[in-house]
Every structure is written in structure tokens, then in C-alpha cells.
């Protein structure tokens, strides 16, 4: 079944990038403002869901040739991995560290290891949501 909805498709082309950017912004701002890995991941996956709705699965897969299962696995690995990483530095499991750095373009920036953990969360959410939705729809 091919749906040919020109208006929706045209709008989606632009909107998807706005949503994706918004997702990344939410993800990055999570430490001090509303946002974070879980929400960021959900927003990113809602962008993909929108793509699936507007185009068919094959087209989307051609455009985004990622295996979302692997993305989910990578996410879970990162989340658990940061925990083990802190053990390697002699700290307790899942201890996070943060510090301020003076970067050339961004000025005084706070960098934190929690971002890796949050990235793991985000990737898992994206991977799992997209995997579930695409698998169920492929089963038709």
C-alpha cells in the first residue's frame, strides 16, 4: 500500500530535521535544564516514527541504513560500560565525574561523564522504539 500525501511528505521533510535537532538539544541540555537522555531519545525516535508514517518502510531503510537493534545494543553497552569504567578508576560502580573546561568556541563548558551514560540511555530508547515499531509493521 503506497500512500501519496504530498503535503504531509513536504512538511515532514522540514519538520523531521527540526524534531531531530530539538531532540539533540534536549539531550544536551539535560544536565541543567529540562531534557536528558530518555526524553531526547524519545523525541529522536518520534522523528523516525513520523518518517515511517509518511513514507513506507523500504524508503526509510534506504535513507537511514542503520540496524536499530545494534543501536539499542550499543546504548545498553554504553550505559553499563560507564558503570564499569568508574570501577576501573578505583571508584564505586556508576560513579560519575564532572568538570569545567575552557573550550575554544564554546567558552567555559561543563563536561561530565554522565553524558556518556545518558547517551547510552538515549540510544537504547531510540533503538528499542524503532525496532519494536518497524518489526510489528513488517509482520503485516
Amino acid at each position: 500500500m503506497k500512500i501519496n500525501d504530498v503535503i504531509l511528505q513536504t512538511v515532514t521533510k522540514i519538520v523531521v530535521f527540526i524534531i531531530l535537532t530539538f531532540g539533540v538539544e534536549l539531550f544536551l541540555s539535560g544536565h541543567n535544564n529540562p531534557g536528558g537522555g530518555f526524553i531526547g531519545g524519545l523525541v529522536l525516535s518520534s522523528a523516525f516514527v513520523l518518517l515511517y508514517l509518511v513514507h513506507d518502510i523500504e524508503t526509510v531503510h534506504k535513507g537511514i541504513p542503520f540496524d536499530f537493534k545494534k543501536i539499542a545494543a550499543l546504548g545498553a553497552f554504553l550505559a553499563v560500560g560507564t558503570g564499569i569504567g568508574s570501577v576501573l578508576f578505583g571508584k564505586h560502580f556508576l560513579t560519575q565525574a564532572a568538570g569545567h573546561f575552557n573550550l575554544p568556541v564554546f567558552g567555559d563548558t561543563e563536561l561530565s561523564t554522565v553524558i556518556v551514560f545518558e547517551a547510552g540511555v538515549a540510544l537504547t530508547v531510540v533503538g528499542v522504539v524503532v525496532t519494536i515499531i518497524s518489526t510489528i509493521s513488517e509482520d503485516v
Binding site: A98, T131, I132
Partner: protein
């Protein structure tokens, strides 16, 4: 640190095996794997001199402070012996397997499992923390399961794997319960700390129960009667696996546990009687059953059971030494433990060699049935020599190491008869007689292995393959073991001084210097020694029984002997499956409506009951904030949407109305100034609505259900009670401050976690462990959905499992 690392090296190597195997695709992968145990053996062997001086090594990785669980490794004499066996026999077995397995097998998988096992086994013997030990203990069961089922297309392999898994893992559970009881009593998971403080707790009611539970774990793992039935079925595994796991290492984990726990439970009468009598009976039962076997590997399996019983009984006898404190008598009894450790090493050498020999026979001739074998000596001279050495050692004949430890075993039994402790008296004599009879039977089956396989008439018509000597590579490993069998006989005190004596201190920490008090191991004790005459008796009666086997084999068909434990196990398994499927069918009706009724009834009973019992239905409105216009509006919208769902004509309308409910909650969050929650709620609502729409395709047509009035009344009642309970709950939460609020702690988030968004610092820092596990659960759920849908068996496809 080295010790901790040595546990992980096999695991790390296991990660690389599949990568390497992809490129290599040949038996060369074995050489890479061989490096792992070889290196570990060299590293561990370098500890021998310092351990012999009485040093011990401890290393702790702090892990979960709140639960007292740390990754502590501990190297002393006892763990050194076991670790050397694990890596040493492991090296030889892998060397042997390189030539044994054909290149068509999935070698990558095989070596991954084997390395997994090796790491787990090292973990068991090095762990000082009971919980860590338990995890590794179960990991050995799992890797054993995988290895037994290596040829998983065979039905018998799968049966054997399942059986061994069921028995050893249930034993492991019992052991876990025992460990937790020990923790409850002593407040520690560290074995060394428990050993130091156990004297205070021997009168506790839990003490005896925990002892019994730990013993169940040890007995299941070490195949002691009546749990031994899994070992013969485990012989479906490839022969290198049988040689490694099911004779040299894994089955000795139970013995290790008994040795390790002797300082904790030893000296108690129950421990002494249980360990020694179960051991002696297993010794007899195993050897009695071994004689009737016609499959060489099954014969070796029963003989392993019997030998494990021997070692177990010696540890039982030796534990008596702890009852008397430091005295001449206790040193006397401790000799049994000394013999046990010695026989443990000897058994690994000769049984390993024998397993490899049987593997060679099977590999070259395609059969292990002794009725079809015979006369192999003429064209397999090397294999024959190794088999001869191994069997004669097992039978307890000089000049092989089995003779030494067998004599020590007899001596310990004679000593035990004179034991004044625990009123041994006549039971000691019974032990002696049963053990001696078992040794006679051991002699008989040892002779069967050698003479019925390698001597006699060659039967070429009953053998499928052309017969020739095995390749050189396959003979290396058993030859090395055979050299050890002979070498240990001539130089037993090298082993005695460097390995056994330091281990004695580990088992008897309260008897200072007990290792140095052990007598030197000598082959000749003079004519007055009863052990010598017992050996002579074994040989004489053994030869008579061997020659007259045809005349007395009838006893195996006598009624009570035919009635065996296997059939009880199988009947139980069937009963269990039937029972659980009957019980499951009782409530799994297949109607979503029924499941909702279960869930809501449970909710009503538990939550409603809790509110009723605690009497927390008093409301207090004084602290509540005033309700604004916005909130009234949102509630109104939600109420309208909620009621309209009931009258919706199409599923689409219902879904959209449901969405209204969800988005309204998001608005509520906005009104209450919780932007994180509002964002999450809005997006989750969007994604679930998409998912809903997707599932439309699979749902039946939306139509009105006609149900009898009674059902309607019950449903209405449930709906009403759930609604009122939720309302009461929401009001009661505000009215009853039972605990101090914890939110103050999180307000300090910036200083504690370096973030100003409290919600996210809770998710990513304060409660990161929860978040991590949630992520993992989410991932598992996703993979679950994927596999359930992608890999479900289509109707036209046949079940491919049975071949």
C-alpha cells in the same frame, strides 16, 4: 591482583575466539586457545614456592558495600592445587581436542564454552566472597550444560545436558540458601571471616540447616549418591569435555567446597557422619555399577563417581581432627585429609589419561562398546600402554600413584575404626568392609578396561573403521598424564611438600603447622601394615571376581537393583511438567478480559487491603494548595473524554479520546511546573498512539460484547472498587506523612552531582543503578518483541528440533 586477573583472562580470551575463528576457520584456533591455560599454569606455578613457605595472597575489588559483596580473591594452598589442576589438565585437554575434533565441528563455539568454563572454575576456587563464589559456581553448571549439549541435534545430548543442569543448579540453589543463612548468623560473606568467627555460632539453630544445604550443593556437583545420576548421562559430551569437566575439574568443585568449609562445619558429628558415609556409599555404588557397563565411557563415568566418593569420604574422616583441638590424635586423623588431597591429584592424572584413551579408541574405531572391542594391543601399542598405566593406577597397584593414595586411604579407614570420637565403633568396621569391597570392584572394572579392550580376540567384522594407531598429536596429552602417574609414584614427596602440606594449613587453620606434621609418603610400610594386606586381598579377590564375572553378573538383574534412581528422576520430571501445565491451564484462559480481572482483583485485594489494615483512610485537606481555574478545565476535559470512550463507535475515536486523556495529564504537569514530566508524557503519548494505530491491523472488528448480567455486575463492581481505591489512595497520600520527606537531599544536587536539573541528577547519578537496569530491561524487551515476531514458527514450518 595477578589472581584476580587470571580469573578474567579466560573470559577475555573467549571474546576474541569468535573474531579469530571467523578469519581462521580451522583447527588452528585451538593453538590460540591453548596459550591461555598454558600461560595461566605458568603464572600460577610461579606461586608454588612462596605458597609452600606459608604465604597467602588476597586481593579485593570493592564492589557493593551495602550488601557486603566484594570481589575478593584468595590464594592459599588449597586453591593453588585446584587452580593448577584446572589450568594444567585444561592445557592438555585443549591440546588433545585440537586433534580430536574434526574441522567440520563449530570449533569456535566449543572453545568459547571451554574458556567460559575455565574462567568460572578459577572463579570458584579463588573467590573468598560467598556470593561471588555462588555466581561462578552456577556459571560452571551453565557452561557444562552448553558443553554436554554441544552436539545438540542428538536427543540424548539434550537430555543429559538438561538433567545435569537441573540437578546441579537445584543443588546450587540449596547452597545459596545455606550461604545466606551463614551470612545471617555471622554477618559476613567472606569465607575467611566466617572461619574466624564461626566458633561463636555453632549453637545457632540455623547452623545445622545451613550445613545440610551447603552439603546438598556439594553433593549434587560432585555426583554423590543419590545425586550421581546426572554424570553418566553427561558422557554424551565430546570426550575432551568429559575428561576435563566431568572427571578432572567441575565434579571436584563439590569436593573443593567440602574442603573449604571443613574449618567452618568440620568437627561436628553430623558433618563427619554425613560426608564420610555418603562418600563411602557412593564409592561402593559407583564401582558396583561400573562393573556391569559395556560402554567404556559409561564405565569411566561410574568409576569417576566412585572415586569422588572415595575422596569425599576421606574429607569426612579428616574433619574429625577439628573436634579435638591441637593434639596428637587430631594430627593422626588429619592424615585422612592429606590422603584425600593426594588422591585428588592422582585421580585427575590417571582418569584424565583413561578418558583420553577411550576417546582415541572411539575416534579410531568408531565404537566404545567393549563387546565389540578386543585385541587392540597389536596395532595400538602406545594407547595400550597408557591405558595399562591408567587402569593399574586406578586399581591401586604399584608402581603407579594410585597405589600410594589407595594405601593411605586404607590406613585412614583403619585409623577411623579406632576413633573414640562420636561413638564410631561398629560403623567404622562397616566403613572399612564396604570400602574394601568397593576397591575390589574397582580392581575388577580396571581390569575390564585393559583386558577386554586391548587383549582378547580382535573382531574386525564388528568394527566399521579401519584400525590403526592414533595420530601423534592425540597421544601427546595422555602420554604426559601417564608420565605423571608413574612419576608421582617415584617422587611423591615433591607433590607432598610443595602442594599438599600448604593446603593442609588452609583446611585446618586452627591446627598450627599441621602440614609439617604429616608423614612422608612412602610406598613400603613393612609387612605389619594392615593396608598392605588389604591391597593384597583386593588383588586376589579381584582376580577371582574378574575371571568368574560371567557367573555372578546375574545379581545385576535382581529386582531391587533394576529399580533405579533414573526412573524416579524421569517420572518426577514428567509429573512436574504435567502438573505445571495443568496448573497453568487453570488460569491462562487466553482472554484478555480474564487477565484484566486478575490484575484488578489483585490490586483491590493488596492496595485496598493495605489501606484498610493500616487505617490510613483519614484525609487532611489543610495543606492542599487552592485549585485554580486551569485545573478545573483540564479535569473537565478529562472527564468528558473518559466518559465518551465508553460510547465511542469506532476504535479510532477511542484511541484519540485516550490520547486526550494522556495529553491532559501533560498539561497538568505544565500547570504544576514540571517541564521534564510534561515533555516526557507528551512524547510518550505520541509514540504510544502511533503504536496503537499500528496494532489496528491485527485487532478484530470493534463490536459490542454481549455478556450475561452477572458478568456485567462483577465487572462493574471491579471497576467501581478500583476507581474508589485509587481516589482514596490519592487523598490518603497527602493526608498521611508517615516518613520524613527525602526531597531535601536532592535539593543539594549541584554540589553532589554537578547538575542543576534535579530530575536528571536523580536519573543519571543518585539512582543511576536503577536507570541502568531499566535501560537493560528496555533493551531486553525490544529484543524480545523482535524475536517473538521475527522468529515465530509459521504454521507450515515443521519443528526442526528433533532429528
Amino acid at each position: 591482583m595477578t589472581i584476580t586477573l587470571s580469573i578474567f583472562i579466560p573470559f577475555i580470551a573467549a571474546i576474541f575466539v569468535p573474531l579469530l575463528y571467523k578469519r581462521l576457520q580451522s583447527r588452528k584456533i585451538g593453538w590460540f586457545v591453548l596459550l591461555v591455560p598454558l600461560t595461566l599454569f605458568a603464572i600460577l606455578a610461579s606461586f608454588i614456592p612462596s605458597i609452600a613457605k606459608g604465604e597467602t595472597y588476597t586481593h579485593t575489588l570493592r564492589w557493593i558495600d551495602s550488601a557486603g559483596i566484594h570481589f575478593t580473591t584468595y590464594l592459599d594452598g588449597l586453591s593453588l592445587i585446584f587452580s593448577l589442576l584446572i589450568t594444567g589438565v585444561g592445557t592438555l585437554v585443549i591440546l588433545y581436542s585440537i586433534y580430536y575434533l574434526s574441522e567440520r565441528e563449530s570449533l569456535g563455539r566449543f572453545y568459547v564454552y571451554l574458556l567460559l568454563f575455565m574462567g568460572a572454575m578459577l572463579g570458584v576456587v579463588f573467590s573468598d566472597n560467598l556470593m561471588v563464589l555462588y555466581v561462578f559456581w552456577e556459571l560452571t553448571s551453565i557452561s557444562s550444560f552448553l558443553l554436554i549439549a554441544f552436539w545438540y541435534h542428538r536427543k540424548k545430548s539434550r537430555y543429559g545436558a538438561q538433567k545435569s543442569m537441573l540437578i546441579t543448579v537445584s543443588g546450587g540453589f540449596a547452597m545459596l540458601a545455606g550461604f545466606i543463612m551463614l551470612h545471617t548468623m555471622t554477618g559476613s560473606y567472606s569465607i575467611r571471616e566466617i572461619v574466624a568467627s564461626i566458633g561463636l555460632y555453632t549453637d545457632e539453630p540455623l547452623f545445622l540447616i545451613s550445613m545440610l544445604l551447603v552439603l546438598v550443593g556439594a553433593f549434587t556437583k560432585s555426583a554423590q549418591f543419590p545425586f550421581h545420576i546426572w554424570l553418566p548421562d553427561a558422557m554424551e559430551a565430546p570426550t575432551p569435555v568429559s575428561a576435563y569437566l566431568h572427571s578432572a575439574t567441575m565434579v571436584k568443585a563439590g569436593i573443593y567446597l567440602v574442603a573449604r568449609f571443613t574449618p567452618i562445619f568440620g568437627g561436628e558429628m553430623t558433618w563427619f557422619y554425613l560426608v564420610s558415609s555418603v562418600g563411602v556409599f557412593t564409592l561402593f555404588w559407583g564401582s558396583f555399577n561400573a562393573v556391569k557397563q559395556t560402554d567404556l565411557k559409561a564405565l569411566l563415568a561410574y568409576s569417576t563417581i566412585s572415586q569422588l566418593g572415595l575422596v569425599m569420604s576421606l574429607f569426612g574422616l579428616g574433619s574429625a581432627a577439628l573436634n579435638e583441638g591441637h593434639s596428637a590424635n587430631s594430627v593422626f586423623y588429619a592424615q585422612a585429609t592429606f590422603a584425600a588431597l593426594f588422591h585428588l591429584i592422582n585421580h585427575s592424572t590417571f582418569k584424565g589419561a583413561l578418558f583420553m584413551v577411550v576417546g582415541i579408541v572411539d575416534h579410531e574405531l568408531g565404537t566404545r562398546d567393549i563387546r565389540r572391542l578386543g585385541g587392540l594391543m597389536s596395532f595400538m601399542p602406545v594407547t595400550f600402554t597408557i591405558a595399562l598405566i591408567g587402569s593399574f593406577s586406578m586399581a591401586g597397584l604399584p608402581p603407579f600413584n594410585g597405589f600410594l593414595s589407595k594405601e593411605m586411604f586404607f590406613e585412614s579407614l583403619v585409623n577411623a575404626r579406632n576413633l573414640e570420637l562420636f561413638d564410631v565403633g561398629t560403623l567404622g568396621t562397616l566403613f572399612l568392609v564396604v570400602a574394601w569391597l568397593a576397591s575390589v570392584l574397582t580392581f575388577v572394572y580396571s581390569m575390564i578396561i585393559v583386558f577386554q579392550t586391548f587383549l582378547g580376540k580382535f573382531q574386525p567384522d564388528r568394527i566399521e573403521k579401519p584400525s590403526r594407531e592414533a595420530s601423534f598429536g592425540m597421544l601427546i596429552a595422555p602420554s604426559i598424564l601417564a608420565i605423571f602417574v608413574v612419576g608421582i609414584f617415584f617422587f611423591p614427596n615433591i607433590i607432598g611438600d610443595y602442594l599438599l602440606r600448604p593446603a593442609m594449613t588452609a583446611i585446618y587453620p586452627t591446627l598450627a603447622g599441621v602440614g609439617s606434621l604429616m608423614p612422608r609418603i612412602v610406598p613400603w610400610h613393612g609387612f605389619t601394615n594392615p593396608a598392605l594386606w588389604m591391597t593384597v586381598g583386593v588383588v586376589v579377590l579381584g582376580i577371582i571376581l574378574y575371571w568368574s564375572f560371567r557367573h555372578w553378573r546375574g545379581i545385576y538383574t535382581l529386582a531391587p537393583l533394576k529399580w533405579n534412581l533414573d526412573s524416579i528422576f524421569n517420572a518426577n520430571l514428567v509429573l512436574l511438567e504435567k502438573g505445571s501445565s495443568y496448573f497453568t491451564r487453570l488460569y491462562m484462559k487466553g482472554y484478555l478480559k480474564d487477565y484484566l480481572v486478575y490484575i484488578f482483583t489483585f490490586f483491590i485485594v493488596v492496595v485496598g487491603g493495605a489501606i484498610f489494615l493500616t487505617g490510613s483512610y483519614s484525609f487532611d485537606f489543610s495543606n492542599d494548595a487552592p485549585i485554580t481555574m486551569n485545573e478545573y478545565l483540564i479535569v473537565l476535559a478529562m472527564a468528558v473524554a473518559g466518559i465518551s470512550i465508553l460510547f465511542a463507535k469506532s476504535r479510532m475515536t477511542a484511541t484519540i479520546l485516550n490520547g486526550v486523556l494522556g495529553y491532559s495529564i501533560a498539561f497538568f504537569f505544565v500547570v504544576f511546573r514540571a517541564p521534564d514530566l510534561a515533555l516526557t508524557q507528551a512524547i510518550v503519548e505520541t509514540v504510544t498512539t502511533a503504536l496503537f494505530l499500528l496494532c489496528f491491523y491485527f485487532l478484530p472488528e470493534w463490536k459490542k460484547e454481549r455478556s450475561p448480567v452477572r458478568t456485567k455486575v462483577v465487572n462493574g463492581l471491579i471497576a467501581f472498587s478500583v476507581g474508589s481505591i485509587v481516589t482514596v489512595l490519592a487523598l490518603a497520600v497527602q493526608g498521611n506523612k508517615m516518613f520524613e520527606s527525602i526531597s531535601v537531599y536532592f535539593e543539594d544536587a549541584y554540589r553532589l552531582a554537578g547538575g542543576t536539573n534535579i530530575v536528571n541528577t536523580i536519573l543519571g547519578d543518585f539512582r543511576a543503578f536503577d536507570t541502568m537496569l531499566e535501560v537493560v530491561v528496555l533493551f531486553i524487551a525490544g529484543i524480545g518483541v523482535f524475536t517473538l515476531i521475527k522468529l515465530k514458527v509459521r504454521k507450515e514450518e515443521r519443528d526442526v528440533e528433533d532429528q
